[in-house]
């Protein structure tokens, strides 16, 4: 399958060029104790593996200048290692290259003395020292000597390395601030604490100032900033993947189509660069569109093969300039549509590619007929049948919750009060359009977001709505004789309360008070949009506009 993916991260591209050089020089010569990589490149997603790979390459230099220091890496992703123990284990296991064996019961790495090193910081320091000793032994370094004086040469036998340097990389370091803030200072001062040749590299999309501990407890790091990618960098970054893609799928990413691909990527970046700079997103869109883009070329090649069956081994020829331009013209409009569908992940790349496959033999058709159509993604955020599954009364409850969250509580009597004379009702319409007079203009409630309301108010509004708009759909109930009695019974029924609970658990309403709190009424907030409320009220034949206090 896609097992070659991780290799993809061995970025030899220009994007990391300067930074990579800087880092590897630092690490292989005299590293500062604490390096902070701030990745401002808008989603280049420097994960721990990338940095490790980045650093590993130059750290295997030739031995021209005699024994050098062996650099060993340990890395962890702070988002994955959400407890201190996981972080320690991830760092040390990757440092010593410990593999986990299920048959052995997944033991942690341990030396023979069986000491625990994952419990707290002290034991972790001890573990680091043990790991250092272990690594020194493995690489044939006299650890005691190497740690203190790197210039001491080996005695007698030829030593490959004169010391072991530990580099610990923690990616997504901003997560440390939430999950284990007390560890940040210790990590920053780890070299002082452990007294080994050690360097800690934290990497994050967030600046150090935002996550550093207060009162200056942590020393300032050596800052490395990854600059934002330029458009050219992005294009070359994407194009540079081609060999890796070829090894993944030799037909689709045929070597002779490489120039076409680089043009394709250039066009893609032209179209999409306005909206996203994230190379991963651009790769994603490229992956979705490329099969369709290259299909006419492959089709043509196939038909040529069919015509001349004796020429079986004929390879795909790089398409001509003319074909390239034609393809670009045909597909450029579909690129922005792909962005619209794929960037918010309304659909995924594989499905999109499948649905939007161009018709076969596109190139053989006359230009006027050849067209690439794109199926618009099923409007997942539309209101259409979104709530069609809800029972009728739940829909009423949602509309009531919308009204309760939008209208001020004081207006309820006027909006829903049903006096004996019709005068009152007429007045409320006039009242509803009154604009606030003078002074600071009030921000409409609709823009302020929903306001919380107690359950009682919701039920009361529901009663008003049911009485006005639901009477026709009820089953006959001769036992209720007083006007409004049916509604009165209806709104206090178990099913209504159950429906409120159900709706708040499916997040169509928010409960703002805690569930365990029984003192006082439960408070809720409406969680449906104006459009949705509008669609629902239309379905229920409720004139929503008349019931809103502030006209929209």
């Amino acid at each position: 399958m896609t097992l070659s993916q991780p290799d993809d991260y061995t970025f030899d591209c220009t994007a990391y060029g300067d930074v990579g050089l800087e880092l590897s020089t630092l690490i292989s010569s005299y590293p500062p104790p604490f390096i902070y990589i701030h990745d401002s490149s808008d989603g280049l997603k420097v994960n721990a593996r990338v940095i490790t790979k980045l650093l590993q390459k130059p750290s295997e230099p030739s031995q021209e200048h005699g024994p050098i220091t062996k650099v060993c890496f340990g890395w962890a992703d702070a988002a994955c290692c959400f407890t201190q123990r996981l972080l320690f284990e991830a760092l040390i296991h990757s440092l010593v290259g410990h593999t986990l064996d299920w048959d052995e019961g997944c033991p942690n790495w341990a030396l023979d003395n069986g000491s625990q090193w994952n419990e707290n910081l002290d034991s972790f320091l001890q573990g680091l020292r043990e790991a250092h000793t272990h690594l020194s032994k493995r690489f044939g370094v006299d650890s005691t000597g190497a740690a203190q004086s790197t210039d001491r040469k080996g005695k007698g036998k030829v030593q490959e390395y004169n010391g072991v340097r530990i580099v610990l990389v923690v990616a997504r370091a901003e997560r440390l601030k939430e999950s284990m803030p007390e560890l940040l200072v210790s990590l920053a001062r780890l070299r002082e604490l452990v007294r080994l040749d050690l360097c800690v590299v934290l990497s994050s999309e967030v600046e150090w100032d935002k996550i550093k501990s207060p009162l200056g407890a942590a020393p300032d790091p050596y800052f490395v900033d990854i600059p934002p990618l330029t458009k050219e960098d992005t294009v070359s970054l994407l194009t540079a993947r081609y060999p890796a893609l070829t090894s993944e799928n030799p037909t689709l990413y045929h070597p002779s189509l490489k120039s076409l691909y680089s043009h394709f990527v250039a066009v893609l970046c032209d179209v999409c660069y306005l909206y996203t700079h994230d190379p991963n997103e651009l790769k994603y869109i490229a992956a979705a569109r490329w099969p369709g883009f290259v299909k006419p070329v492959l089709d043509e090649h196939q038909s040529q093969m069919d015509e001349e069956p004796e020429d079986e081994q004929r390879d795909i020829e790089p398409p001509s300039e003319d074909v390239r331009l034609r393809l670009t013209r045909l597909f450029s409009s579909s690129l922005s549509l792909a962005l619209e569908a794929l960037y918010p992940r309304l659909t995924d790349a594989s499905d999109w590619a499948k649905v939007n496959e161009p018709p076969s033999d596109l190139l053989s058709k006359p230009p006027a007929e050849a067209k690439v159509t794109t199926a618009s993604p099923t409007s997942a955020l539309g209101t259409g049948s979104l709530l069609g599954h809800l029972p009728r009364l739940s829909k009423f409850i949602l509309v009531a919750s919308f009204l309760a969250s939008t209208n001020p509580a004081k207006s309820d009597v006027r909006m829903f009060g049903r006096g004996l004379d019709e005068k009152k009702r007429r007045r409320r319409k006039a009242q509803a359009t009154v604009k606030p007079k003078g002074g600071v203009s009030k921000v409409p409630q609709r823009l302020l977001g929903p306001s919380p309301f107690p359950l009682d108010r919701l039920v009361a509004l529901l009663g008003a709505l049911l009485e006005e708009h639901d009477v026709d759909s009820r089953l006959p109930a001769p036992e209720f004789t007083i006007p409004g009695e049916y509604t009165d019974m209806e709104i206090s029924r178990v099913a209504i309360n159950a429906a409120v609970q159900e709706l708040s658990s499916s997040r169509l309403m928010h409960r703002t008070t805690k569930a365990e709190q029984i003192d006082g009424p439960a408070m809720f907030k409406c969680a449906i949009s104006y459009d949705l409320a509008w669609a629902l009220s239309k379905e229920l034949k409720i004139p929503l506009a008349d019931l809103l206090w502030e006209q929209v």
Partner: protein, 742 residues
């Protein structure tokens, strides 16, 4: 309890002394009345109910299974689908979101049982934080296989934590090496909306970091039909890790209609109990308005069954008639027969002959009613078939809304054809009118459909139906040429009209003993599934005795107290002092204004209790003579309840048997509370009782009244009738007004 209770003491302990509230099944309201004389009936009815209901339930379940089959296939296909476009920047975590508002967890269980991969089910309560979520996920998956425990055991701190994804990765590696394949690891998240998004965000991220080595896959069970929830709640960074696929499962009315069409409306399935229009309409209404889940639908149908069998003792005859029925059963059957047809058993003399005649009538009705029901269903299906055909061909047809009004339409078939409200007469006329206007091609297709339908019905034992089948075949064979199409259409229209009219000739209610098989217009017991909380609360407080006392129709004749009770129930006075404390307090509450002064309230309550005390004394004095007679039998029964000899001795004479039997459980509890103080100083001898009581100090009584008041007050407070106001000390505010008292 100690004697030195004073007002300074803030807390009293009232130990539970066993007691009067042990359940006595015979007293349950709605108990079957057949104890009177149906020795075989009760058990038989239960057996019959069980048999009828399990037939129905099996049918429903098989329909549901059939309905869900394609969707299960779809989900399985999605799970196993591993294809992805080459060249993605990073592997995506497959997520299948299932909108499943109707069927609940059973659907997902089916999916999991079909898939031969390790799977685990996660619920919102498992995932309150990241550690617990990861632990639930990992241990769930590891334990799903046989190889769940590593062979070598280590101390917890010496091995990987079981919430570490690497633990799962190590296990998977091992699992793959032993199995030789790389199965998908499936995690099913139930009620996905209730999961904390911040936790799940991290879970998805962590799992996606392990791809593609660890083939994890998630199934999300959502209650909204589209994956919008994910797009609204989760950030784009999380969505970018996922490959979201959707499977929509049928929901809404179509499920209800499908189930009803294949059970109670289907000519191919004989339901033993015939649901009447009232029940069907309630079921449909509840499904549309309140709760669209399969579970609630099944519960509703089951309730109809239960009610049907619990109301009428004759329902034990549903399947068969016992060879030697009890006289009471026969009598009940006879009454029912005579109610429908007064001349049914005329001219029969002799007990045995009458008995045989009745049995014969019962058996006859049994087959007759099933035939009639079947004809109704055939008529309904035929009309529906034609209606669907007309709509397909672009006609309006009968203007039926088969989606929304299915139950009403079917219910209409139960009514008398001539009745206006059913509209059947007009519909039939209209049908034949449209039939006559069809062109030959349409006619041919329609007749083909009708022919197929008629042939598919099992006409065994029904001569009319057999005749109709051959008749229709003859009719359709003749219509080859175009010229006579007009006449053929007219003939067919006439035939359909006749056929339907014959099928709908008779009502089910015209058949003797119809109530054994048919629920008719019996209303659905809606208060059982959807009671109005407020109304039941108020009626409980206003008329507590009607709730708690055993139903007057089935007095517990065996206990001596009850006999006395029977005598006194005649004097069914609802005087205030007979009510439980909470009800007394509530009555006084109703009399007050918006704000209630608690001290006034207390005083009015105290006044009622004084009356109660006086009345109890009086009644006991009256019942003394009786008490002496009954004393031997009544004390042991109480003593058993009370659990202690001393307590029983103290308690028995205190209360008159009359009062005791009449009182509600709540009341009894209160009574007990009142008696507690006397236990200590009550003598063993009954005769000294009066003197002991007179010695009771006024102070103790005051304390008791206060305690009872506070208790009742708190109960009302707990029920939400009181709002504490800070505006005036000593006052509480009412929350409930305008109660229609009587």
């Amino acid at each position: 309890m100690s004697d030195d209770r004073t007002l300074e003491e803030t807390t009293f302990s009232i130990p539970y002394a066993g007691g009067d509230d042990e359940p006595s099944p015979a007293n349950l309201p709605g108990a079957p009345k057949d104890e009177l004389g149906f020795p075989e009936s009760h058990e038989r009815r239960f057996e019959t109910y069980r048999k009828a209901w399990s037939t129905c339930l099996d049918r429903i379940q098989s329909i549901v299974k059939q309905l869900l089959e394609p969707h299960i296939e779809a989900v399985i296909q999605q799970v196993e689908d591993d294809s992805a476009v080459p060249g993605l920047p990073h592997p995506e975590l497959p997520v299948i979101s299932i909108s499943n508002p109707v069927f609940g967890a059973s659907f997902l269980n089916d999916v999991c049982s079909r898939l031969d991969t390790p799977s685990t089910h996660l619920y919102p309560s498992d995932c309150v934080n990241l550690t617990s979520a990861m632990r639930a996920l990992i241990t769930g998956l590891v334990q799903d296989t046989d190889d769940d425990i590593p062979r070598v055991k280590h101390k917890v701190s010496e091995r990987l934590a079981n919430y570490d994804i690497n633990y799962l990765a190590a296990w998977y590696k091992h699992y793959v090496s032993t199995q030789g394949s790389r199965p998908v690891l499936l995690a099913v998240l139930h009620n996905f909306e209730e999961f904390d998004p911040t936790v799940m965000q991290d879970v998805f991220y962590i799992c996606s970091q392990q791809l593609p080595e660890l083939r994890l896959s998630f199934i999300l069970s959502l209650s909204t039909p589209l994956p919008t929830y994910l797009h609204i709640v989760y950030p784009r960074a999380t969505l970018a890790c996922l490959r979201i696929r959707t499977v929509a499962i049928p929901n809404g009315l179509s499920v209800l209609n499908e189930i009803l069409l294949q059970t109670f409306f289907s000519p191919f399935f004989d339901s033993d109990v015939i649901l009447g229009p009232a029940a069907l309409e309630y079921i449909s209404d509840f499904f549309t308005r309140h709760n669209r889940t399969l579970d609630s639908l099944i519960t509703l149908i089951q309730l109809v069954y239960m009610k049907h069998f619990s109301v009428d003792p004759l329902t034990s005859l549903l399947y068969s008639t016992p060879s030697t029925p009890s006289p009471a059963l026969l009598e009940a059957a006879l009454t029912s027969i005579l109610a429908t047809n007064e001349t049914a058993v005329d001219g029969i003399s002799g007990e045995d002959a009458a008995k045989e005649k009745i049995i014969e009538l019962i058996d006859e009705s049994r087959s007759k009613i099933q035939n009639r029901y079947k004809s109704i269903r055939i008529a309904f299906h035929l009309t529906r078939l034609m209606q669907l055909f007309f709509v397909r061909e672009g006609y309006k047809g009968l203007a039926w809304n088969l989606e929304n009004d299915l139950c009403a339409i079917f219910g209409g078939m139960f009514l008398k054809r001539k009745e206006k409200s059913s509209g059947l007469e007009r519909s039939l006329g209209y049908l034949s009118l449209i039939l006559k206007k069809l062109n030959p091609d349409q006619l041919h297709r329609l007749s083909h459909e009708i022919h197929e339908f008629l042939q598919s019905i099992d006409a065994e034992g029904d001569e009319n139906l057999k005749a109709a089948q051959t008749e229709f075949s003859d009719l359709t064979q003749g219509q080859a040429s175009d010229e006579n199409s007009k006449t053929v259409a007219a003939e067919m229209a006439d035939w359909v009209d006749d056929f339907l009219r014959n099928l709908l000739l008779e009502r089910l209610e015209d058949i003797l003993l119809w109530e054994v098989w048919y629920t008719g217009m019996t209303p659905f017991p809606s208060e059982l599934v959807n009671p109005s909380i407020r109304a039941s609360l108020l009626s409980g407080l206003l008329r507590p005795l009607e709730f708690a006392s055993p139903s007057s129709t089935s007095p517990n004749a065996n206990t001596p107290g009850a006999k006395v009770a029977e005598m006194t129930t005649v004097v069914s006075d609802e005087s205030l002092w007979r009510l439980p404390d909470t009800s007394i307090l509530f009555r006084r509450y109703l009399d007050s204004g918006r704000l209630i002064n608690v001290y006034d309230w207390f005083e009015s309550f105290q006044a009622v209790l004084e009356t109660q005390r006086e009345e109890v004394k009086k009644e006991r004095a009256r019942g003394k003579g009786r008490g002496r007679k009954n004393g031997g039998s009544s004390s042991p029964s109480k003593g058993k309840g009370r659990g202690g000899g001393k307590a029983s001795a103290a308690a028995t004479p205190k209360r008159s048997p009359t009062k005791k039997a009449r009182q509600s459980p709540t009341k009894n509890q209160k009574g007990k509370q009142r008696q507690q103080p006397e236990e200590g100083d009550d003598g063993m001898d009954e005769g000294e009782d009066d003197e002991e009581e007179e010695e009771e100090t006024e102070e103790k009584w005051q304390i008791e009244v206060q305690a009872r008041f506070i208790r009742a007050l708190h109960e009302l407070d707990y029920l939400g009738f009181i709002k504490h106001t800070k505006r005036r000390a000593d006052h509480v505010a009412r929350t409930v007004f305008d109660i229609n008292d009587e």
